[in-house]
Subunit: 341 residues, 2 copies
């Protein structure tokens, strides 16, 4: 999968560079500072990384057509879309780093409010430009795709609102899924259905892919959260357990509050409240999550979603290359789960 | 105009209430807290106020068709759109009040970050739902309208970025217009062209209306800024000169830096830097702006835009009622200018 991802990522990046070449000229002509802001947007978007969302669109499209040329502009739209969301997400979560660089809202001068406000505006601009890119594509059925992304944007913003609420309450497992159903699950759904709709997939495949995408999303979210809690800063690039100490409730914490005994639950609450790092902080949280069985339960859930996704992908009429891509992508997730015992 | 505005505002508000009735049910079913958030969105949108943007759409549409029924759903979309922008705008400008109530980001509990983040997300949701509302309308040509709003959303966010930059630099008059061309001017353009396109206006009218809308927008912006600097808190509902003390550069301040002598320019800078209120603060700013001729120059500019707009409106083939509405709207602006001597 890595080779395929790299190959297609390079093609999409090339299209993104072309896109920004035109846009930067227009924006500089409007006002030099707006030109500078768009140059920052380009730098942010073109940082090295796997373009999983747009590659999912590309591979789904290829799975039904054998072609990729026509869908590349759509992939540009998806990357604009994805990064607009990331800019707002990093702002709200007070993050510091994104893919080896500063978060977008920290790239500007003057006081904090300046960069934070520009981040709000640029997130907005990226969403509108993502839709414009989709709108201007030559596909007859692109209206359906736009509706998918309008729906997904609402979904993602609702999910982020719940994620924020959960900093102040302890959700049940069911409630966690209510939140997660509109997070990565929703993005995979929009990305994969876009490729399928534009590629002319049969109606029954759309249903199967929607379900598969949800499971891939859940598996990803669960794994990403486990990495966030258990990987070192060197491995992951972000402070270990940063999300938990901000009060976030990944599924393994939700399970810890369900499975740990009362004393351990209270200890967990106290550490999170005091935002303790190190041996009596995040290390202790890791131990509690492991020992009460929450980590095992969560890894099992992630594997279960992965297995269901693979079975569903196999049921579609996509070609072998695309099926293998998604199976490799899913395997990559479940393999990563084994890093954290 | 007031009677017409009131009558049509009531019709649009009725449609908005219908819209929220359906939406609130769906959102409550998703998660009770998201239901609560949408209830706050409804309260915020339905606060008493003139719906100038959506009434401009409605009256332009009526000007070409004699009807309004079909365009009411579009007006709902425009109000969702407008308020999404206001929510982000109030957040970025650290405002406290909006139409007699708290700004949206202050309506929530927990710490500041909670409400501020929800404001980012809800602004996003409103934009996506505005587009969805347009998308689902029955007009064949609604694609053109959606493109207008995608373009306007980018424009407004760029204008707000420049507005923010101007807190840290002193723009020229030309630069002020570069910023203002994508502010109220752009919103009037999108609102009026929407009514015209959907109402089947001839191509030459679209051009005329676009130009007229720009002038209405400039006239409005200039007047609104004058009110912001010269009206009392009782009249205006917001602290006198609040924007100036935040470092904003309305056109009358831009002209003051051009027309006042060096000493007065420096005094202006010092007062703004020290954020002084009262007799040696905003009162003194008002005096400097008046005495150097900046207020007169700015009022003249606003009147000039108003006159141009009226001439252009007269050239269109809209019916008399709609022409009169816009003329009354423009007169209302220029009459208000006389309040501040």
């Amino acid at each position: 999968m890595d080779k395929l991802l790299e190959e297609y990522t390079e093609l999409i990046d090339h299209k993104l560079r072309e896109y920004f070449k035109t846009v930067l000229e227009e924006e500089k002509a409007y006002h030099p500072f707006i030109g500078d802001v768009f140059a920052q947007v380009e730098e942010f978007l073109l940082r090295k990384g796997k373009r999983i969302a747009s590659c999912s669109t590309l591979l789904t499209y290829k799975g039904y057509t054998g072609e990729i040329e026509d869908v590349l502009d759509i992939c540009v739209g998806i990357e604009l879309y994805r990064h607009g969301i990331l800019i707002h997400d990093d702002l709200v979560d007070r993050d510091e780093k994104r893919r080896g660089g500063g978060v977008f809202h920290k790239l500007f001068t003057y006081e904090d409010r300046f960069g934070e406000s520009i981040a709000v505006f640029c997130g907005n601009i990226l969403f509108s430009q993502a839709l414009k890119t989709l709108f201007e594509s030559n596909f007859d059925v692109v209206g359906k795709v736009i509706q998918l992304f309008l729906e997904d944007y609402k979904a993602v913003n609702e999910s982020q609102t719940l994620d924020l609420l959960f900093e102040h309450k302890e959700p049940t497992v069911e409630e966690w899924y209510v939140m997660a159903s509109k997070r990565a699950a929703s993005l995979f759904k929009a990305s994969m259905l876009t490729g399928a709709i534009l590629g002319g997939a049969p109606a029954q495949d759309l249903q199967i892919l929607e379900e598969a995408a949800m499971h891939i999303g859940y598996s990803f979210d669960i794994q990403d959260d486990i990495i966030g809690t258990f990987a070192s800063e060197e491995q992951y690039g972000r402070a270990t357990g940063g999300d938990i100490l901000l009060g976030k409730k990944p599924l393994h914490v939700v399970y810890a509050y369900k499975l740990a005994n009362r004393d351990l639950q209270q200890e967990l609450r106290d550490i999170i409240k005091a935002k303790k790092v190190g041996a009596d902080g995040i290390d202790r949280i890791q131990k509690i999550i492991k020992e009460c069985g929450a980590l095992a339960k969560t890894k099992e859930a992630s594997r279960d979603h992965a297995n269901r996704a693979i079975k569903l992908i196999n049921k579609t009429s996509m070609n072998a290359e695309s099926k293998n891509f998604f199976k490799d992508l899913i395997d990559f997730v479940t393999e990563n789960l084994d890093w954290y015992q």
